[in-house]
């Protein structure tokens, strides 16, 4: 399984969905019923994949695909650094 799909699976699991229910173009806010769940999701991803986000990073993130890209780029930075 690729890193991207591992991250997607974790997003789905945290939000109580299946991977098929979190396609790239799905808006994150449409997948949760309260903002605190999104906070829990970003912490879960950082803990699981050992990466760090700042608020400025998340300002640009609207969709699942953008969140996958963010986690992917942080993982790449970590492995190259």
């Amino acid at each position: 399984m690729s890193n991207k799909e591992r991250v997607r699976e974790k997003i789905a699991e945290t939000l109580g969905h299946t991977s098929e229910m979190v396609p790239d173009d799905a808006e994150l806010t449409s997948l949760v019923n309260n903002s605190f769940l999104l906070v829990e999701l970003v912490i879960e991803l950082q803990e699981e994949f050992d990466v760090r986000f700042q608020q400025v990073d998340m300002n640009e993130v609207v969709t699942v695909g953008q969140l996958l890209d963010l986690v992917g780029s942080r993982m790449a930075e970590k492995s190259s650094g």
């Binding site: 605190f36 906070v39 829990e40 970003v42 700042q54 300002n59």
Partner: protein, 186 residues
């Protein structure tokens, strides 16, 4: 004993807020990897759950049932301050919120005609609140190497401004219920 409806609402508000805190910290404690922060977060989660129980018991002893209130106070923080996106930001917003809680409970305990059971409940909760402030302060200090002292300071400042905005808005919205329990925000 029956209490007036404003006190009934305020105690129910406290209870709802403690439940929201417990649920949030419980989820975080589940997400975190084993560490000192995970251990303290787990204790914090348990404290918040206990506080909700204390207010539930307090309302019962006062002869009333908890009111079912909509979104807790904390929810408004996210709209005002933006979503915290890492552990440092979560601890910073929690530190600001806990200070607000301590101020509010202190003011309530000092207000006139507080029923003994309410005063006793506040006193019990305040012992835990002091520890909450301490462990988060220490954890933020430990995070300075990773996140930067200035960044942490700026984050606390941003959330403090948001806290004032949210508190003022809530106080105005519920002015009649809160009455003397409204804190000065200047």
């Amino acid at each position: 004993m029956k209490i007036d409806e404003n006190l009934h609402w305020i105690l129910s508000f406290y209870r709802t807020s403690e439940i929201s805190g417990a649920l949030f910290f419980g989820e975080l404690a589940r997400s975190l990897r084993p560490s000192a922060i995970q251990q303290d977060m787990t204790r914090h989660f348990a404290d918040e759950a206990n506080h909700a129980r204390y207010w539930t018991d307090c309302l019962d002893k006062l002869g009333v049932q908890p009111l079912k209130l909509p979104a807790a106070y904390q929810n408004q923080y996210l709209a005002a301050a933006g979503m915290p996106t890492n552990l440092m930001e979560i601890l910073a917003i929690t530190q600001v919120f806990e200070k607000r809680v301590v101020s509010q409970y202190t003011l309530h305990a000092k207000s006139p005609n507080v029923p003994d059971i309410v005063g006793d409940t506040i006193k019990t909760i305040m012992k835990d609140e002091q520890w909450h402030l301490r462990w988060i302060r220490d954890a933020l200090k430990d995070m300075e190497a990773e996140y930067g002292a200035d960044n942490i300071k700026d984050t606390l400042k941003r959330f403090t401004l948001a806290d004032r905005e949210v508190y003022e808005k809530t106080a105005l919205e519920h002015q009649e219920r809160i009455g003397d329990l409204r804190l000065a925000t200047k």
